[in-house]
């Protein structure tokens, strides 16, 4: 234990304490606390930014999903329309070809009948002229019945061959 109270120490330590306090504030914890506060603010702002961008991303994702859904629906509807159109078109094509075939057939039939009529008319005409010819010949020769018959047959045969 000290035998005397050293008042000088008291004064010295107080002064030194004050100086140390001021120096530490100026050089150590003053700037450091500012930095800590700054960092706190920085972190807070960063968190906020991250939160915002996350929200934005979510929003975009939602939008994209909707867009995809819409596109899918559109595609579906396009396919359906195409199917319907093709069906209608196919039916139309079939009907048209059927009609065409019918028409062709009909015209062919008409042609055939016309040809036939023509042929018959021609035949008739020839038969007429032949008959006239035969009759002329018969009259010219004045043949007997038997000969006549023979002649007619001959001419008919001839006509038949010529037909």
């Amino acid at each position: 234990m000290p035998e005397t109270i050293t008042w000088g120490d008291t004064i010295f330590s107080l002064v030194m304490f004050l100086i140390l306090l001021l120096l530490l504030r100026k050089f150590a914890w003053g700037p450091m606390m500012n930095m800590m506060k700054e960092r706190e603010e920085h972190v807070a702002s960063e968190i906020e930014t991250a939160e915002n961008s996350r929200k934005e991303a979510e929003k975009y994702l939602e939008e994209q999903k909707k867009e995809v859904e819409k596109a899918r629906q559109e595609a579906q509807s396009i396919i359906e329309t195409a199917k319907k159109t093709s069906e209608v078109q196919g039916e139309e094509i079939i009907a048209q070809s059927r009609r065409e075939a019918e028409r062709v057939k009909e015209s062919a039939l008409a042609e055939i009948s016309r040809e036939k009529e023509q042929a018959v008319a021609e035949l008739r005409e020839q038969v007429g002229s032949l008959s006239v010819m035969i009759a002329t010949k018969i009259i010219e020769k004045e043949l007997d019945e038997k000969q006549q018959e023979q002649l007619i047959e001959e001419y008919v045969k001839e006509a038949g061959e010529r037909l």
Binding site: M1, P2, T4, I5, T6, W7, G8, D9, T10, I11, F12, S13, L14, M16, F17, I19, L20, L21, L23, L24, R25, F27, A28, W29, P31, M32, M33, M35, M36, E38, R39, H42
Partner: protein, 242 residues
């Protein structure tokens, strides 16, 4: 074994102004160490802290937590500088006496020791703290409220409250001094025993190491207690007690 203190009497010719040069020296060294720790920790501050900056920021948070455990931060913020300075200075002062002790051979004058092992220094800090608590008490609550605190919760407790103030001051300073003085005494004893003979060295070596470890523990704990009590007394004076 009889150590002397390097006391200079009547400095500058002023009667009664005695100075213990050992205290002056050790306090100055402690203060320089504290300043260096603070200065080099804060030398290049970065947003992303590393190394010493981390340590010092942890320290700042620690002091902050200690203050907020006794009062709210809005009131306590102004005591932060006081807290961190007193904590670091006492901590370094406590630890500085640990590794060795320098005593001159001829006169047995102690030069290197913990400055906090001197009651004058510890009482100086204690009185400073208590005076500051009174100062802030009057400043923040007004003289009337401050005065009323002496008759709370009952008027007849006035003498006890007054005694309490002196008791607080005395225990605050003496606790620190007692712990550190005991540490120094035992270290000195062990060191002289170890230096006396080979046998003594072997016998004193292990207790020496153990006591140094314990001394470190005491140093940290006492610095923390001093800080804590400072803040407790401070909050006692500046906060409304409801």
């Amino acid at each position: 074994m009889d150590h002397h203190l390097p006391i200079v009497y009547d400095v500058f010719g002023i009667p009664g102004l005695h100075v213990n040069l050992s205290n002056i020296l050790m306090l100055t060294i402690s203060a320089i160490i504290v300043f260096c720790i603070g200065f080099f920790s804060a030398r290049n501050l970065k947003m992303k802290p590393s190394g010493m900056q981390n340590v010092f920021e942890w320290l700042i948070d620690f002091i902050k937590n200690t203050i907020t455990s006794t009062m709210d931060w809005k009131t306590g913020e102004r005591f932060f500088g006081l807290g961190i300075t007193i904590f670091l200075l006492i901590l370094i002062s406590n630890l500085i006496g640990l590794p060795f002790m320098i005593v001159t051979a001829e006169t047995h004058t102690v030069w290197w020791k913990s400055p906090t092992a001197d009651p004058v220094i510890t009482m100086t800090f204690a009185v400073m703290v208590v005076v500051l608590t009174h100062f802030y008490g009057i400043k923040m609550k007004g003289l009337k409220e401050y005065g009323k605190d002496y008759i709370r919760p009952m008027p007849f407790l006035l003498p006890l409250n007054i005694i309490e103030e002196f008791a607080n001051t005395l225990t605050l300073g003496m606790r620190l001094f007692g712990n550190l003085y005991a540490k120094e005494i035992l270290l000195t004893l062990l060191a002289s025993a170890g230096g006396a003979s080979v046998l003594g060295f072997l016998a004193a070596g292990v207790p020496m190491i153990a006591w140094q470890a314990f001394g470190m523990f005491i140093g940290v704990i006492q610095a923390f207690i001093f800080l804590m009590l400072t803040m407790v007394y401070m909050s006692h004076k500046v906060m409304d007690e409801h």
